[in-house]
Symmetry: C2
Subunit: 331 residues, 2 copies
Amino acid sequence: MTSIKDVAKLAQVSVATVSRVINNTENVQDETKERVLAAIKELNYSPNLLGRSLRRLETKKILVMLNTISNQFYSRVVKGIEEKAIPHGYTVMVCMTHGNCKIEQRYMQMLKTRLVDGAVFLTTEQDGNTLTNELSAVNVVQACEPREDFLTSTVSIDNEKAAYDSVSYLIKKGHKKIAFFGAGDIYQSSIKREHGYCKALKENNIPVNPNWIFNEGFSFNAGIRASSLLLSKGELPTAIFCISDSCAAGAMKALAQNDIKIPDDISIMGFDNTQLSQIYMPSITTLKQPQYEIGYQAMELLLNKINGTDTNINHLLLDYEIVERESVKQI
Amino acid sequence: MTSIKDVAKLAQVSVATVSRVINNTENVQDETKERVLAAIKELNYSPNLLGRSLRRLETKKILVMLNTISNQFYSRVVKGIEEKAIPHGYTVMVCMTHGNCKIEQRYMQMLKTRLVDGAVFLTTEQDGNTLTNELSAVNVVQACEPREDFLTSTVSIDNEKAAYDSVSYLIKKGHKKIAFFGAGDIYQSSIKREHGYCKALKENNIPVNPNWIFNEGFSFNAGIRASSLLLSKGELPTAIFCISDSCAAGAMKALAQNDIKIPDDISIMGFDNTQLSQIYMPSITTLKQPQYEIGYQAMELLLNKINGTDTNINHLLLDYEIVERESVKQI
DNA sequence: TTGTAAGCGTTATCAG
DNA sequence: CTGATAACGCTTACAA
C-alpha cells in the first residue's frame, strides 16, 4: 500500500505539502503542486481514510440500522436518508440486525468507537433504557418505528391517528364488522394502531369484538395465519384492517383459497403503500406512509445533531394519506 | 470521548497493560486485570476502532455493493454473505449505488483507502477495465451478476443453461409459441438468457420469432410494457419466459386486464423464486437461484483472497432448479 | 511557499 | 508480569 510518504519522496517534497495539495487547503506553488499531482497519479495513490479520520476525529459516514432489507418498506426510507446525506458529504451504509441483539450491538460498537459519525435506527431489538445509556455520547435518531423509551429525536407518522382514519374510512364505506390483523404488543406501532382501530369503532358505536383481533405479525405468512384463525371463528367480518400490505396480501390469498372473493365478500385494507399493494391482484387499498420524507427528515435531524445546530429532542409526525384501490368495496 | 489513556490513568497502569487486558493477548496478573476492567466499566470505555484498524492495518469490515435493496432478490444473497462473514469476525455493510457511477466510485474509495478489508459486488455500473485497474490492489469478488471484463472471482448460475432449461420445460409442457421478456444487452445475464431461450427453441425445431422478443427490463413495469407491446403484435404466444419474477407479475397483471387468463390462455414463467412468485395469485412457476448459497460462497472466496489462501481467479457456477407453481399449464 | 513535528488512539516490540 | 516507546497514515500549528 502506498502512503503519503511515498508520494512525498517521489515528488521530493514534505508530506505536509502533499497533504496540502490533496486537501486544497493552503497555497502551494503551481510547479510543486504539479509535481505532487504527477506523483499521486504515478503511484495511483489514495489517502488512507483511517489516518485522516483518526486525525480529524470525524469519518463522514452514517449507519442505517434495520431489521432486514427484505422488507420493501425501508428501501425508500433509506433513499430519503441518502439524498439528504450525500450533498453534505456523508456516505450511508446499511446494516441488518435480523432481529438479533448481538449483531445490533456489534454495529453499535462502530458507533461508540467513532467508526461512523452517527446512525439512523429504523428498527431496534433492544430495550430503550439500555440503548439510551449505551449511546448517550453518540449521534443517533430514530425513524419509522421509534421506541419511546429510547430517548432520541424521532420521525414517523401518528400511528394511532392513521389507524383511526383507516378504520373510519372503512366505516364510511358501510362496514360495521371489521377485523384487525396486528403484530402484537412487542411493536409500539401495532399497539397504537390497535388503539386507533378500537377508538374508531367506539366513536361509531360499534362494539369491539375481541374474537376479531389477531396479532400474528407483519408478514405475508402472518396474514395467512390470521385468516385461518378468523375462518375458524364462525361469523366473518365484512372488512379487515391489516397492519401491513404483506399481511393484507397473505389474508387475501388465504381467503381466496377458501373461495371468499375480495372485495365482494370481504374488503381488505393494507398499510404502507409498498409496491406489493400496487401490483397485487386485486390491488390493495392502503395507507401511504411518506417513506422518503421520513428518511430525509430523520437525516436532517441527525445532521443538526452532528453539527450541534440543534440539541433538542424533536418528535416529528408526518402526514399520510389513504390510497384507494380495488380491495375495498362500498357496501 | 474517553481513550485508553484515561483508563490507564484510572487503573494506575500503563496503556500497554490496558491493551493487553482488552485483547486478552498476554498474561496479566489477576489483580491488575480486575483493576483495569473496573476502570473500563466505570468510564464506559470502548476502544476506538479507527486507532486499532490503523495500527493493525485491517478493519474486519466488508462492503456489499448493489444497485438497490428494493430488489428483493438480493436480500437472501446478503444473508448468505453475512452468515459466512460473521463467524470469521467480519462485519457486513450494504451500500446502494442506485445505478450511479459517482456514488459507486465513492464507495470504492472506501475500499481503496482501507476503510474496509474487501467487497462483494452484486451489481456494478462501471466498465470492467476501469474497475480492474482501480481495484487491482484490493480484495474484491463478484456475485449474481458478474461482469466478465472485471477480472475477479465470481459466483453465479449458468444463465444460458438456466434459460435453456426453463424454455425446454415450457416446451415439454406442450408450448411451441413462446415469447421472451428480457432486459436488454446492458445486462450480461439478459444476453445469456436470450441465448439459452433461442437455443432451446432451435433444438426443438421451433423458429425464433423476433416479434416475440422484448427487452423492457427486470421490473414489474417492464413486464407491463412488454405485455402491451406483445398485445399490439396480433398473434399471441401460449407461453412467456420472463427475466424476473417482477417482470412476470407485471406481465400477468397487464394480460389479466385484457381478459387473458393465466395460465389458461397464456402460461407465464418467472425467474429467481423471490417471495413475490410464491405470494402472487396465481403463484408463479419460476427458476430458483440459490441466492443464499451464492452469497455464502462469494464470501468464502473473498475470505480466501483476504487471507491469501487462494490467489486464483475462480468462477463458480451453482445449481438451480425449476419450481412448479400455478402460472404454467400443460397444453 | 514549504518543512518540521506533534498528535489522533491503538498495538507490538523490547527492556526491565 | 509490566512499562516505555515506536509506529500505523494523516493533518495542522508553528517555524523557517
